[in-house]
Symmetry: D2
Subunit: 345 residues, 4 copies
Amino acid sequence: MAKHKVGIVGASGYTGSELVRLLTHHPDVTLEFVTSESYTGKKITDIHPHFQDLVDITLVSIDDVHEYEPDLVFLALPHGVSMNFVKEHGLDDFIIIDLSGDFRFSSQSVYEKWYKKDHVSAEYMEQSVYGLPELFRDKIRNAQLIANPGCYPTSAILALAPLIKQGYINPSSIVVDSKSGVTGAGAKPKEGLHFPDVFGNFSAYSLVNHRHTPEIEHTLLNYSGYTTEVLFTPHLLPIDRGILTTTYSTPKKEVNKEMVEELFHSVYEKEHFVRVFDSPPSLKNIRGSNYCDIHAAYDERTHKIITISTIDNLVKGAAGQAVQNMNIVFGLIESTGLKQIPLNP
Amino acid sequence: MAKHKVGIVGASGYTGSELVRLLTHHPDVTLEFVTSESYTGKKITDIHPHFQDLVDITLVSIDDVHEYEPDLVFLALPHGVSMNFVKEHGLDDFIIIDLSGDFRFSSQSVYEKWYKKDHVSAEYMEQSVYGLPELFRDKIRNAQLIANPGCYPTSAILALAPLIKQGYINPSSIVVDSKSGVTGAGAKPKEGLHFPDVFGNFSAYSLVNHRHTPEIEHTLLNYSGYTTEVLFTPHLLPIDRGILTTTYSTPKKEVNKEMVEELFHSVYEKEHFVRVFDSPPSLKNIRGSNYCDIHAAYDERTHKIITISTIDNLVKGAAGQAVQNMNIVFGLIESTGLKQIPLNP
Amino acid sequence: MAKHKVGIVGASGYTGSELVRLLTHHPDVTLEFVTSESYTGKKITDIHPHFQDLVDITLVSIDDVHEYEPDLVFLALPHGVSMNFVKEHGLDDFIIIDLSGDFRFSSQSVYEKWYKKDHVSAEYMEQSVYGLPELFRDKIRNAQLIANPGCYPTSAILALAPLIKQGYINPSSIVVDSKSGVTGAGAKPKEGLHFPDVFGNFSAYSLVNHRHTPEIEHTLLNYSGYTTEVLFTPHLLPIDRGILTTTYSTPKKEVNKEMVEELFHSVYEKEHFVRVFDSPPSLKNIRGSNYCDIHAAYDERTHKIITISTIDNLVKGAAGQAVQNMNIVFGLIESTGLKQIPLNP
Amino acid sequence: MAKHKVGIVGASGYTGSELVRLLTHHPDVTLEFVTSESYTGKKITDIHPHFQDLVDITLVSIDDVHEYEPDLVFLALPHGVSMNFVKEHGLDDFIIIDLSGDFRFSSQSVYEKWYKKDHVSAEYMEQSVYGLPELFRDKIRNAQLIANPGCYPTSAILALAPLIKQGYINPSSIVVDSKSGVTGAGAKPKEGLHFPDVFGNFSAYSLVNHRHTPEIEHTLLNYSGYTTEVLFTPHLLPIDRGILTTTYSTPKKEVNKEMVEELFHSVYEKEHFVRVFDSPPSLKNIRGSNYCDIHAAYDERTHKIITISTIDNLVKGAAGQAVQNMNIVFGLIESTGLKQIPLNP
């Protein structure tokens, strides 16, 4: 079988380099091109020296994408930039998997409210499919435009979806307390992410107004039919990779420990990339891999359901999930090229 | 004025060494002795070389305490060991500030249930005063036995007390999501706290059954008269010092952002060691100091109150608060010897 | 072609778990067994939960090794324990790759002096081959007993071997200043490796008497014929994985920057796992991979040659190099199963 | 006695904020002003929130310095900027302690070669005194312009000075292998110092051409009369604070372990801020304090002398040493206001 031809638009960020890492050894695709406007003509190893001797790619301009006649293009671009690419290229020539937030909503006004910018290609928002395979696999299979989920939402939604869908919890009782490594904030040096600012430190940020809030609510609604109210609080962990999300919610029917645990085991039994644990998971058990580990508990004393879920924000929270989506849309086995074993210790 | 004579029982742990750090330059007390059974006769610098040239103390046995005729003794002992000391020495000869959990409850049965051991000197539990100065200053002044609060409870209670006392929140709606550095787990090497186990890692532990849960509930009840139900989830941060606690609760009356912020400003206006911030605090702003920094917010969308509070678990969460209690009981200015400026970066 | 049958003796340490990680997806071998005396009968995921859903192995006893009729056995045992296994099993039934220090010397007296214990199977020391493929590939091909190199020596020898062999440097002028992550010290919690002891800290240890000193000297002599005097100083880095070694030596002939750089490029041109860089390498560029990155420089002002080399101590410094040796001894392509791309960031 | 009036020029960097930390509780000086051009009119707590409730300073412009009639001014400015201040203000009105590199050399050409910029006030270079109190206390006492030493040089020179001055070592044999925390590179976010670039990482930089090389050589010459050749290699530690320097040199006369140890004990016996240890020191033992800890060893096998020295780069390597110099020039007890006990763990 001829290999599928894919390309990456945007090489300098973390999602770009992780896509390269994952696609380099993928058996069923060839990585035809990687673009970078700032580094056009340079080797990818000039930006990412860890690929030395492993990846021999000369970066090209975004203007040259069509020359390669790709079957699929990954957009590893900042929020607000992907929409321009889609506007220019449309969806007829190749499938697009966009790793930014530009097509995660079906509502233009919601996007514009939370992202604080105009959407230039809103006409494509409706066609876009939210690329969380465990929830929307069937739609992804036939999508031309896939909006790859945000990292925080991936960790929160996989933990909450079974509870909300099965009517276990009160949709307006949900608290999501997330903790993320610094790569979630991007590769560009900035105030507050300078090494001495983060080392030995910890803090919450974007209280009550983080734009992943509507993404979580919107997706839970689409999946379950329930309108939820989610209070989402992100915190910055002094590590490079990984998100751990703790959720709290109130049951709306009588439950017990066993029911809650059993729910997760049954919902995710056949999922390759969700592992249900009987004790709280820890970040290093998924480092570098596409797994989401989940533990669910019920506190009889206070009548609350707690979930803990972990992902590598750059893999299941970005590049790995994008490749998983690509596998689905190409009709490949979903775990192809995603068998990296977590790096622990 | 003659200086007060104090001693420390237990030198090898972190609270012991932090007490030495804080008392060494305290202007109104003399540190008469430090005990250690494993290191009797050795120099304190043999265990804690950072005191070289600064602290010249030869460790003595716990059996020699009486020889020094102390006015006050700090017990920096493990849970379950302090009670033996109190049983043996009683409270007639010197004031005791106990940094373990042994005297934090007035109920023997609650202690025995959560700490899973018999209490050998339960007769003293009623006399003990919970040493959180901001809440119980008047009782502390006349105490003979002060139970120094746990680190997690200090961070949670200072954030919740104003809300619960003033009737702002529903007492059964409280979620406490705490994140602590590793020194909170003690100085003894153990499985799970080995450097490679924690580095780059993050996890929750003791879900639904951590013994700081009843300490928080018990104290909030004593202070406010309200019986609360607290769901407390601790997490292990890959850093050495510091606790950040995020709480979530539901208002029981109509509130707004300004009311919530104003409440904290007014309650803590005159407190030396509580700083109320208008944005989320970060751990390094209190490192090495006796401060508790608090930010409170209200989310209009989901109708929830959020607080973020930070302490250095070894200072305001242990040794610093113990010295603050000592200052009160000796009638000194409460901040004496506690003016260390946070070490940031 | 039938797959080769291999087994691992010793599951609980880091080298054991890294061998499992690397062998799980190796296309030409089957991992027949993993032993553990403390966890016999348990699942490997009980010790290493990151293998959940990926590795389904029930641990067996070391006494059962023969039942599996392996072609090759990896010994992931502490120093002083491997020798007992070799004594008991000999070398007739299967090839042994020993990851301990027990067979790295040909001289029993050198071993006993530096390891401070009697060698119980010294008769096998002469047959053992030092498993550094870049230097001793031909001998490894036919070995029955391979002594997998120490982590520090791997990083130092690969940097020094070209210089000493080609007569560039004075053999008695060598200083090796190494810095290692904490996994190099093993998985067992101990004093000094407790998280708060290492976090934010840095120190040198084992000055002038670390047992990797004679291993470096012994190997350089075997390879080059020159007797060297190496001053080796290890330091403990507050990270989990990785060794960076800086060496300093004095040229014994006239050299310049270009000659020194060119030497390394030419010597390692065809080596899959050595990458020669024109600027100083950094640890994260090799994390999780089997690469050794090297940069060599010459300081005209002080007439000294400097090298900087980096490895992942658990991969090229242990399990990865062991698999590389296995590939050689099985006649496979040397990089088979070792194509993991470094995990960066 | 009236307090001395001092001011700080430059508030936004780490040395500025550490000066504020140390001077706030200094008993014999008043901090009259702190300048910042970018934050003029703002509170210092707007930049450094850890000073909340502790330091109430409104930042002023550098143009207002004279209004305060200070006795002494600290320049916490970047290299190349201090010289302008000195040019403009001269040395008649107040003593200047400059924490940049602008006045550390007496030779204009050496400065211009290594710092790659013209010196605009070279006429003051000769008057400047190198502010390393342990070596040049007498000159400091009467200085009008004190060049506060670089952080790396402080750690290296204190370790090498006794050896070179007493003729123990060959002056052209010196290797200095230093490892520094990231605060040494300043507070400004930049490429390579972004948190994920440094976390879990380690690397060498500025091989053979770091400008602290001539500072070390120049100072050793001034102090000992010996012209040295120093090969200096800095490395970036993934921590916030602290420098550990390992030096290697060859004896030029017969020495032994005892002689080497004894030399350091006798030279530094009366020094308040140098602690000589009989085992290798570790960084956390000096964190936040003005100490330099030193261990010296002799390797009989390879005939080399090794020293390990540690400082907090922001204290003894910058702000603390500046205050120590201030105490000397004001005739105060040298340790006044510098009694902070190291923060460990």
